[in-house]
Symmetry: none
Subunit: 402 residues, 2 copies
């Protein structure tokens, strides 16, 4: 019995409300030994006050030493084993641009490329064609008709776009990439590994041929390659596993998409964290669980900008009182991974995490940061267990065994 | 290779003695942030003195957030993965009233109920018939004879009793409940899910028919339903896994039963903790391992009585010197789960745990409690690993690999 089955079998319903407040890439690093991390350097009076009533822990996104992308990072936070529930590259890319995948869909990441008169690749990324030029080209490919399947093409950025094959009969994602990873050679044919993949490959081949015909006179991008074929991942829903009516509040499509993959409803169209909390306030009575995503702790970390991350962390802190004013039963403050500005990238470091409830067993810490979290009453804990703890603290889990 | 196979393959024998001293539901909660737990509030000079020579840790009974019943709680303490080794409801109920199950037994929880002239259920619990009246009725069912199988019926409380089918040929526990969970309908027939279950179902049906005939003129309880059919769980014994001659000392039948399921010998009939320690002293030379169970830290927690739990914890503490006077090589002090008086129920919170040996690597704590345990040298650790640590500290495990 895995954790999801266990929680599903023990879940019960009541009127409690759970908030998961996620600062993307929240964890950081000091820039010199003995120094402070971004979170420790930030003035966070509200997080610190909450810490005094909470229990902290060090959340390990996947396994020690593993730096996750946004997909596995959020799957872990949502309570799913990120090594068991995989989101294919195509599905993640589609999700990231706001395409809501349906059962039976196969999503593919595509690159515009250039080919010579012999059909051999001359530039695998079509000279990183500007988005203004590539987007209309990608949109035009929506005109392609393939019998028995709906074709949905959506631009991403520069040479990248996404295609989704929808409504086909038993399509699968098990198809090899067609990018040969070299120039001077032909693009590969799509090859299906199993029966469902072979069905997809046949459709993909028709798509490529039609696209080549449409693009043949384009100077900057006259062909395409396909990578990361993937079906919609089969992830049990929040309603199924937790019995929670769950909602997600986020600015960026990627996080809305990840939340929708587990069946959360996506609320409003907030553009700032203040607006996100306003959406929370307006919808407070309608849901049991709220996932609130703040992007900029991650982006400032990715930029390698310590001071900017400190400032973004203070913005994150400033919204805590508005959340607490709603009187939630359980609050989890965490991140999907660390993004230390020192590394300017996602990292494997445990994420400072705290859980508040009236029965959380506070651990005596009165500030919130990496050092306190690593010595917290929750210990070092894989992110996938945070939702179980949230459910327990919300009295939404029955006893296991008699 | 799971933990049990690993330990089995590495075990070796010597003259060391291990004591596992279990305060049921030992872990607690403060009643306000910054307050003390029951264990922290209690005066525990003996536990504190032992802490100075020990290493502490936070024991997670099953997984983070999971509140176990006594069955999984003790299986974890005994070193078995409580998600892998399940004790069926019928087997646990039988065990809880002191029936020692044998291989091949199938145990069933039964409810007296009432039926009308058409055989339809009018009260699923026979009006919660008082035990004084139900017990003789249950005992009378021992007169039922079924060819090829021994029938053992034992009263529990009010409408509840247990039946064990013994000595049948290949009986199994995979049988659906016969309680339709509704009134105005007929009890269900027992239906076996597999071949062994079908054999049991056929016997159960004979039992029900004979019982109905015997009970037909009883006003208060003229029928019965059957739930939780379960075979004796197959759990490798302490002798097999650890090579330990193991004994259990407990007051209540449930804990004697759980210990007997893993092959421990049940010693004496102590009625108090003082008497339990006397049994320990009298049998010290005869066994390698002693499990000593103290019930009242749990019951006072279940009663929601903080002060009573403090007092019971102090009684638990008072017996430590008598245990140490026997000069054990390894002592583990722990609980099977937390039972905070704040929640008046079993909970998921990690259990304060300490391990003493002459090579335990003490962690510098000089008191024993939830906060020190959560910062202890053993870290946060699943209960199922405590026995491996006990074996290691007793020098009873060989090196793994060369």
């Amino acid at each position: 019995m895995d954790q999801i089955d266990l929680v599903r079998s023990l879940k019960t319903k009541n009127d409690t409300k759970i908030v998961m407040f996620v600062g993307d890439g929240l964890g950081g690093l000091p820039h010199e030994p003995g120094g402070k991390t971004e979170l420790e350097a930030a003035k966070t009076p509200n997080l610190d006050a909450l810490a005094a009533k909470s229990v902290q822990g060090a959340s390990i996104p996947v396994k020690p030493g593993i730096s996750p992308g946004s997909g596995p990072g959020h799957l872990g936070l949502f309570g799913y084993d990120p090594l068991k529930h995989l989101i294919g590259r195509g599905a993640l890319e589609a999700t990231g641009i706001g395409l809501v995948l349906q059962p039976g869909d196969v999503a593919v990441r595509c690159n515009f490329c250039t080919i010579d008169a012999d059909g051999k690749i001359t530039d695998r990324r079509a000279g990183r064609i500007p988005t203004e030029e590539s987007a209309p080209l990608a949109e035009s490919l929506n005109a392609i008709k393939i019998p028995g399947v709906e074709v949905i093409v959506k631009p991403v950025k520069e040479h990248r776009f996404v295609v989704v094959f929808r409504g086909g009969d038993g399509l699968g994602g098990n198809v090899h990439d067609t990018d040969p990873q070299a120039t001077g050679v032909l693009p590969l044919d799509p090859v299906g590994v199993d029966e469902a993949g072979q069905k997809t490959a046949a459709i993909a081949k028709q798509f490529v041929e039609a696209a080549k015909e449409m693009l043949k006179d384009e100077k900057k991008a006259n062909c395409l390659t396909m990578r990361g074929f993937s079906a919609k991942p089969e992830i049990p829903s929040y309603e199924d596993v937790y019995g929670l009516k769950a909602a997600a509040i986020a600015v960026y499509p990627m996080y809305k998409g990840l939340a929708s993959l587990v069946g959360m409803e996506i609320l409003g169209k907030p553009q700032t964290l203040e607006e996100e909390i306003k959406v929370l306030e307006e919808n407070w009575d309608k849901y049991d669980f709220f996932f609130i995503h703040f992007k900029y702790t991650d982006s400032s970390g990715e930029d390698g900008d310590f001071d900017a991350k400190v400032k973004r962390t203070e913005e994150f802190d400033a919204q805590i009182p508005r959340i607490l004013a709603l009187n939630p039963d359980v609050v989890i403050v965490t991140g999907d991974h660390s993004t230390p500005s020192f590394l300017a990238s996602h990292s494997w470091h445990p994420v400072p995490t705290m859980l508040y409830s009236n029965c959380c067993r506070p651990d005596g810490h009165t500030t919130f940061g990496e050092n306190t979290a690593c010595r917290g009453g929750l210990g070092h804990i894989e992110a996938q267990y945070l939702m179980t703890l949230a459910m327990a603290n919300a009295h939404r889990l029955q006893k296991y065994g008699a």
